[in-house]
Amino acid sequence: MEVGKGHVYSGAELDIHEGKMIEELKERSRDIIPDPDSWLTDELRQNILLTTVDAALNWARRTAIWPVISFPACCAFEFMGAAASRFDISRFGMEIVRASPRQADLMITAGTLTWKMAPQIKRLYDQMAEPKWVIAMGACGISGGVFKGSYSVVPGYNHIVPVDVYVPGCPPRPEALLYGIQMLREKIKRRKSFVEEKK
């Protein structure tokens, strides 16, 4: 690629690399990643086959969910409201918001995601240790919200990462986020690690 020709303006290797990375991610992210929602349909079987080990593990997991810092826009303020003393998410054992994705279990995607930011969010998600969950918070996180169709906005986080719980609102109230977190706890409760899937 030559600088000054067509759409290339910078000769810096870093810029060209970044541009390529974003274009590739955009190309790969045309389709929505299906929600991990199989637990909803075979609820009965999962409930019956849950082992004691699973129950203990899931109790440990759901009572200490640490969110990672990934708040690109204004929904972050409602998250701060939820995290502060009035709504107090530390009641659910998640008062520690980790700056490092390696120590986190949950990504709360509070805000509009642009294509330029998308590779970083993808990297954050990839760096989180399994098991990990994602809450799409707010209209922008769900579908791009009012910015859907814009040249620079990702139409929903589910193009980039698989989403477990959607919390609608613009922005959602802390109560709505708390409800979403409770739903996620319900989901983790039914997770099975030690039982083989019956086809």
Partner: protein, 149 residues
């Protein structure tokens, strides 16, 4: 309160050699020809009686027939302000002289205008995209921009 100078007031104080650069006078602004923009801006900054030492912001507007650039200047010494405008009719490769060497704060704003409007600033030290990524097609704040999707 900051006194907003009218176009005619500022024009009356301009140097004689720069009078040819004035394209129009408005009650709220001074319209200048783009080829004189840098000289007039330098004069407005350095003339002791005017001394516009602070560039508040630059913005660009697409009127379809032409692009208009708006510069908001303030003198912190004399506590007065002025709006200067300039126009660019070339849609294919619009070019305007850069004022980065006068006001350093113009650097990122000119890059933003370049990114979203596609106006090239001649003499800018680092003319490349700022918000969008390398390889993005087109300039999205232009009225004739289409996303392609």
């Amino acid at each position: 309160m900051t006194l907003a100078l009218a176009g005619s007031e500022a024009a009356a104080r301009l140097d004689k050699s720069l009078a040819a650069g004035i394209a129009g006078l408005n009650p709220d602004s001074l319209l200048v020809k783009s080829e004189f923009l840098f000289d007039i801006a330098a004069f407005l900054k350095d003339e002791p009686g005017l001394n516009f030492n602070y560039l508040v912001h630059i913005t660009a507007i697409d009127y379809c027939d032409y692009f208009e650039l708006v510069y908001h200047l303030v003198s912190l010494k004399h506590n007065h302000s002025l709006v200067i405008k300039t126009r660019c009719t070339d849609r294919k490769t619009p070019t305007i002289p850069s004022v980065v060497s006068l006001w350093r704060g113009a650097e990122l704003q000119e890059r933003e205008i370049f990114d979203l409007m596609g106006i090239n600033f001649e003499g800018h030290p680092n003319m490349k995209r700022i918000f969008l990524w390398e390889g993005f097609q087109g300039h999205p704040l232009r009225k004739d921009f289409t996303d392609g999707s």
